[in-house]
């Protein structure tokens, strides 16, 4: 019974999130067509979601790049394959580590903040107030957050790739005793534009997932301060689980597309 109840709840939530996503796309198209797209709201959200996350994702990127080089570097050195370190790290960063880790950091920082803000608005009747002022809450609240999160996650992933590789290069040169030239050549030899874009495509999807889950959890908040706390936690947990699950399907899709194109 418990499992059936949970399964029903899960399906309800997925359905609700899908409807919210479709409404967001509808309002985006409608606003663009009527020339009423809220550019100021979008820029404000991009600053909040993106700029304020820069330091956190930079630290994450440098750390991951450096750790990958240490882990891979010593193993490869034992096999006399130091020349591949740069390429392997670049591929790991571009394809998986950068989009996944950036998304997890942003889900923790931004997804929770969206859920808390919208949840508070919900329990204090501010979302009802928007409706009474003939303003659709999805249009006013979700559309700018959705696009800001989607766009900024791609940009932050680019940043994580860059700082990750810089961190990796520094460790490769000063700890693994590789030359910068050998590290760079390996990166350029192995990494293709397709790998970079594959990772950025993933980041875009993850950004959309974080925004929709954060907004959905905010909109469905009930029960006062405790409810806001629950929505905030749920938004992070569900977003991370969803990102990890969707990542598998995206990886399969991108790799199949790779086989078709190349």
């Amino acid at each position: 019974m418990y499992l059936i109840k949970k399964a029903k709840q899960f399906l309800n939530e997925v359905g609700g999130m899908t409807i919210l996503f479709l409404q967001t796309i509808y309002w985006t198209i409608r606003n663009i067509r009527s020339g009423k797209f809220d550019v100021k709201g979008l820029i404000d959200q991009m600053a909040h979601i993106g700029v304020d996350s820069v330091l956190m994702v930079c630290i994450t990127g440098v750390s991951v790049g450096a750790v990958l080089v240490v882990q891979i570097g010593y193993q490869f050195a034992q096999m006399g394959a130091q020349g591949y370190v740069g390429g392997v790290v670049a591929l790991a960063m571009a394809r998986e580590m950068a989009p996944i880790l950036t998304s997890i950091v942003v889900a923790g920082r931004v997804g929770s903040s969206i859920a808390a803000e919208l949840g508070t608005m919900k329990i204090t009747e501010q979302i009802d107030a928007l409706d009474t002022l003939a303003t659709n809450p999805v249009d006013y609240l979700v559309v700018p957050r959705f696009w800001a999160c989607t766009i900024m996650l791609v940009m932050l992933t680019v940043l994580v790739n860059v700082v990750g590789m810089i961190g990796g290069a520094v460790v490769a040169v000063y700890q693994i005793d590789l030359t910068l030239e050998s590290f760079t050549n390996s990166v350029l030899e192995w990494l293709r534009v397709y790998d970079l874009f594959g990772g950025l495509f993933k980041a875009m999807v993850f950004g959309a997932i974080i925004a929709i889950i954060g907004c959905f959890k905010g909109f469905t908040t009930s029960g006062g301060a405790e409810g806001v706390g629950k929505s905030t936690t749920d938004s992070v947990v569900v977003a991370i689980m969803m990102i990890l699950a969707v990542n598998y399907f995206l990886t399969v899709f991108i790799s199949n597309l790779n086989s078709i194109i190349f």
Binding site: M121, T124, D128, A129, D131, T132, L133, A134, N136
Partner: protein
């Protein structure tokens, strides 16, 4: 005219509205009384289209709002204003932006004209010069008055008040009531107020209705309600702890 007809609403197994019937005439001030948690606010939220009923109709000037599409509903909402129990001011916007929210979104008035309009509304609610304060800097009474200024900013024909005086001191309660009356006199608005504040209700009402058990159990002029022989009305009006409302 607003006609609520056979309105039903349940939340899970709990039926909150069980066939509400009500007529509100143009320009009148109707007060809906009832004990806490009886569904008064739910009824109000149906009238402005925030909730969809399980069954029944709400006709505003002959149009059934329960079947309206979003665009038409929004057009209708621009003719209505609502003061929420908690004022529901937008935390991230200052007083001026809160009051001007509807104007900015639905008109193309210049910034100067909007500022002038907002200042005029703030003057009306007795809060001149508070344009740039944030909601967090306002007291409970001030928040309610800003909420009222926002509700009347678009000069609506219908204003809905959800417990406007709850939690206010007697002086502030009188100020809100006087504002309610002056809006009715100056702008000729139709107003529906839900409250359990008897004093306030009898000060502003043309007609009073008692909502209990999911239905309107009595409706009439102030005098008719005061002299009603209905034991539910008698208990509520007299504020007695013992009576049919409190019997298990």
């Amino acid at each position: 005219m607003i006609i609520v007809s056979n309105l039903h609403k349940s939340f899970g197994s709990k039926a909150v509205l069980k066939g509400v019937n009500l007529k509100i005439y143009d320009g009148e001030s109707l007060v809906i009384l009832g004990p806490s948690g009886c569904g008064k606010s739910v009824l109000l939220k149906h009238i402005i289209g925030l909730m969809k009923p399980d069954k029944g109709q709400i006709l505003i000037d002959g149009e059934d709002i329960t079947k309206l599409e979003q665009t038409r509903m929004d057009e209708l909402r621009m003719r209505m204003g609502m003061l929420f129990q908690s004022a529901a001011l937008f935390d991230s916007l200052n007083v001026e932006d809160n009051i001007a929210f509807g104007i900015n979104r639905h008109t193309s008035l210049s910034k100067r004209a909007v500022h002038h309009l907002v200042s005029e509304k703030l003057e009306m609610v007795g809060l001149p010069g508070t344009n740039y304060l944030m909601p967090s800097e306002l007291s409970g009474g001030m928040r309610k008055r800003v909420g009222l200024a926002r509700a009347i900013a678009m000069e609506p024909e219908i204003i809905l008040y959800d417990e406007p005086t709850t939690g206010l001191d007697p002086i502030m309660t009188s100020a809100i009531d006087e504002l309610h009356l002056s809006l009715k006199e100056k702008l000729g608005v139709t107003s529906i107020m839900v409250t359990h504040d008897m004093k306030s209700a009898f000060r502003v009402a043309d007609r009073v209705a008692l909502h209990y058990g999911g239905q309107i159990v009595e409706i009439g002029s102030k005098e008719e309600i005061m002299n009603s022989q209905n034991p539910l009305v008698q208990q509520f009006v007299r504020g007695e702890a013992q009576g049919p409302m409190t019997q298990l």
